[in-house]
């Protein structure tokens, strides 16, 4: 295993850890708004880390086709812009429809 493989493995593990945090947050939190806090952001960061690791792997093993790395970089930029916007759109729709936020001490919904 070369040094690049160790770096890629560390990045992939960190990204996968944040994806698990996102899924566990979706199950554990008591309210709709707090669930979106956990998933919308940890998901985006985890995905960014995983794809950065895969870009490094690709540039190391296939140095003749750098355009694939550019395509994956475009994917990262698109996800960083699009995911928060989708989360904001659905939170705004829920707020307009009257979904009340959860305060400390109430029961789960």
């Amino acid at each position: 295993m070369l040094l690049i493989h160790v770096v890629v493995a560390i990045l992939l593990t960190a990204g996968m850890f944040f994806m698990f945090i996102g899924a566990i947050g979706l199950l554990r939190f008591p309210d709709f708004y707090t669930r979106l806090h956990a998933t919308g952001k940890c998901d985006t960061l985890g995905e960014g880390l995983i794809i950065v690791g895969l870009i490094i792997y690709h540039l190391f093993h296939y140095p003749r086709t750098p355009l694939v790395a550019v395509k994956l970089l475009l994917l990262i930029i698109f996800i960083f812009i699009a995911n928060p916007t989708a989360i904001h759109a659905i939170v705004k729709a829920a707020y307009r429809r009257g979904l009340k936020p959860w305060k400390w001490g109430e029961e789960r919904r």
Partner: protein, 88 residues
């Protein structure tokens, strides 16, 4: 190294199955729409990892396209739920 991608792909499938619980149970429609959006994002990651596992560099148009479709689908749902109609 390539076989490690298979392990990460399986871990991703486990997270997708964890999210499906909220899609089935979640009280109300907003929880379900949020869960479907999250499953779509995790699917994009799964597709990229599998593209590297099967060693196909021309495959990465498909995750890019599916990320866009997922985004637009969530926006359309949010607009319909907010206003009650799509075109006004």
């Amino acid at each position: 190294m390539i076989s490690m991608f298979l392990v990460f792909g399986l871990l991703n499938v486990v997270t997708i199955l964890l999210c499906l619980y909220r899609a089935v149970v979640g009280p109300g429609v907003f929880n379900r729409v949020a869960a479907v959006n999250v499953v779509g994002t995790k699917t994009v990651v799964l597709l990229v990892i599998m593209g590297f596992y099967f060693e196909r560099p021309h495959f990465f148009d498909i995750p890019l396209l599916y990320a866009m479709l997922n985004f637009i689908g969530t926006l359309v749902f949010a607009k319909y739920l907010e206003r009650g109609e799509l075109c006004s």
